[in-house]
């Protein structure tokens, strides 16, 4: 558990960004697998099975999971852009401000997606 010690000792926001980026990345790999497996019902079981599954997935809980994946993916995407900016444009000095911008933009995208998902959730 030596790897978790850094999260307690290092209070820099970059450490938080690292942890969140890693957790969101692992979640997104599992989502990608699930996404491919669910859509492959059309390949394996045929069109009717696919339509049935799509109908069954049209419930509030599944839409809530979808919404959370959108928020997680947008965080991972924006934080990844922050890393690319830091790496290629040598912006290490501004990484705290950039991480604040990432959090702000993720919150904005989250609220916008919630407004689209609102009627599917309730």
């Amino acid at each position: 558990m030596i790897y978790l010690r850094d999260f307690i000792l290092n209070k820099h926001p970059g450490q938080t960004a690292f942890g969140l980026h890693r957790i969101s990345g692992i979640i997104l790999i599992f989502y990608l697998l699930l996404h491919i497996i669910l859509h492959s019902t059309a390949l394996i079981f045929g069109n009717d099975a696919y339509n049935n599954l799509a109908k069954r997935m049209d419930n509030p809980l599944a839409h809530l999971l979808e919404l959370s994946i959108i928020v997680i993916a947008s965080f991972h995407l924006l934080n990844g852009l922050r890393l690319i900016l830091i790496d290629f444009f040598l912006l290490t000095r501004f990484q705290k401000g950039l991480f604040f911008a990432v959090k702000f933009a993720t919150a904005f995208i989250g609220i916008y997606s919630l407004s689209i998902y609102f009627e599917r959730l309730f």
């Binding site: 692992i26 790999i29 491919i36 859509h39 059309a42 069109n47 339509n51 799509a54 995407l77 690319i84």
Partner: protein, 113 residues
């Protein structure tokens, strides 16, 4: 202690695939979950009958699988495994990734006939 590093091509490939995903994923999210149409076979096959959507989806699939499994590999490198073990991990991730890409393209192909 012999500390391993991820090679440069891995770092660069992660950035290149990230930029591809950063462009294509918003297009995918706006076109599919944000549209008010319900998901069904005909909706997906109507979208994939346009060649540009098929190219976007295959490119996004390949980039996402490469990016995800490469990221997984660099996580295992952080735990500093034996060099032999990490070679095997890399081999199995490549095998899994290539199989997954072929399977994903077969799934996409199913929708266009």
């Amino acid at each position: 202690m012999n500390i391993q590093k991820t090679p440069l091509w891995s770092w660069l490939g992660q950035r290149i695939s990230a930029i591809i995903i950063a462009v294509l994923l918003p297009i995918h999210i706006i076109a599919v979950p944000f549209s008010d149409k319900k998901i069904s076979f005909s909706f997906v096959s109507e979208r994939l009958s346009h060649a540009e959507w098929l190219i976007i989806d295959i490119l996004l699939l390949t980039a996402c699988i490469y990016h995800g499994l490469n990221g997984l590999y660099s996580i295992t490198i952080d735990f500093n495994p034996d060099k032999r073990i990490s070679k095997w991990i890399l081999f199995f991730l490549y095998l899994f990734g290539i199989m997954l890409i072929i399977y994903g393209i077969l799934v996409l192909w199913r929708f266009i006939r």
